[in-house]
Subunit: 250 residues, 2 copies
């Protein structure tokens, strides 16, 4: 969306023109029961619906999702094989910039199943990072969008973007849940790694999570608890490895 | 918190040392009823408790908050003069990096009371921005913290920081609710402006909201609806004004 602005400087006033990323509220329903609403960028909505329900703990693994329908008027309908009686969970609203922004205390403290087996060659990582950073034209024009990609077997499997860094990760996880991508790979996000971001990836089985930027203390705690490889300030040719170096092959 | 890392480059491996911002879950109770939990940086917790309840729509204006107690073991107890029967609201989980990360649909679409009257001299704004950016030592060492300040009558009234950009704003709003700061001023945040960020400020009556970075389409919509002055990419000596230029005095 384009918008005329007024640019004020020490030397005067001039007309500006900015492009804004468009956020829109979407509600997500599981088997026709409304679970919640979220502000999203209107791309990858099917994946978002599935990933959102995973993030909230309603869906647990690929194979449960049967069908996802995106309706006009802001609704995403997910049909999945889950228990009819979903117990409400004690949720923690997450600190980090958080799209879906809440996780259950049980998820934060509970057991995490073993991760998938995957090693990332260091020489491939540069390509991976460059492809994610160049994939988002909207990010470059609006400065208001986070990107997230999944890499495996030498190529970028999926890439998604959203105003919320969480939503972008949720879309990648949704792709895994819908069998459009494999968890046997590495995730790279332009956003910061907070506990919930790392936890989602660990729960779906992704063994390597990389960020363009930093991580919080609890993100590291989740990485340690799950044995996940966590890389911050990841650049082509430079990794700062916070946990489990073993999966990065030189 | 300090953490030893492994830095991998094309030319070899070396030991690294990073400082991580510490996030911790805190629950917030209103008149002894648990409302929710959030991951926060452990500063400005009293203000956070009040601001969190405002963000969720449980507290509406200064004068309602009677007392805020921060207990060990992660609890913030807010005592306030509010209706005993708080109706649950339909919430929208917000896209933007969202600490508190949810707002009621009613709040997003409902009426907003007139804002406070305040004009910001452009020559003061440079000082304001510099003071906020230099206030956060933790931000400079961790790259994982957002800062938010409130400026009025030629000086920085309050400054808060948090891992979540929402939480940092909630702390500033909590300070207003606790009569430790006045809404007759300008807010500057290092985080992006999404709808909920602007809405919170408009609801408490702050007339000017400025960001180091960008805004989303709905943030602009809220600014327009409330008549709020919104400035993006705010730098000392350069403002990009998206709405209501009139309050920035040259």
């Amino acid at each position: 969306m384009e918008h005329a602005t007024v640019v004020l400087t020490d030397s005067g006033i001039e007309a500006g023109q900015e492009i804004l990323a468009v956020e829109k509220p979407y509600s997500v329903a599981l088997n026709d029961v409304n679970i919640g609403s979220a502000m999203v960028l209107e791309t990858g909505l099917e994946e978002f619906g599935a990933g959102f329900l995973f993030g909230q703990g309603y869906i647990e693994h690929p194979g449960q999702v049967r069908e996802v329908l995106v309706c006009d008027q802001g609704r995403i309908l997910v049909h999945a094989d889950v228990d009819d009686n979903v117990e409400p969970k004690e949720v923690i609203i997450t600190s980090g910039c958080g799209g879906t922004g809440k996780i259950s205390r049980e998820m934060l403290e509970g057991k995490i199943a073993p991760l998938q087996e995957y090693n990332l060659p260091f020489r491939e990582a540069g390509q991976f990072i460059r492809q994610v950073l160049h994939a988002s034209e909207l990010g470059q024009t609006t400065h208001c969008v986070h990107g997230c990609g999944l890499w495996t077997e030498g190529k970028l499997q999926v890439f998604f973007e959203d105003i919320g860094r969480h939503n972008a990760v949720d879309k990648v996880i949704g792709a895994i849940l819908m069998n459009r991508a494999s968890a046997k790979g590495a995730v790279y996000t332009t956003g910061r790694l907070t506990s919930d971001m790392v936890l989602k990836c660990a729960r779906i089985g992704v063994p390597i999570v990389m960020s363009r930027t930093s991580a919080s203390s609890l993100a590291l705690a989740v990485a340690r608890r799950s044995g996940l490889t966590m890389v911050c300030y990841a650049r082509p040719g430079r990794f700062n490895i916070y946990n489990e170096q073993k999966r990065i092959i030189r």
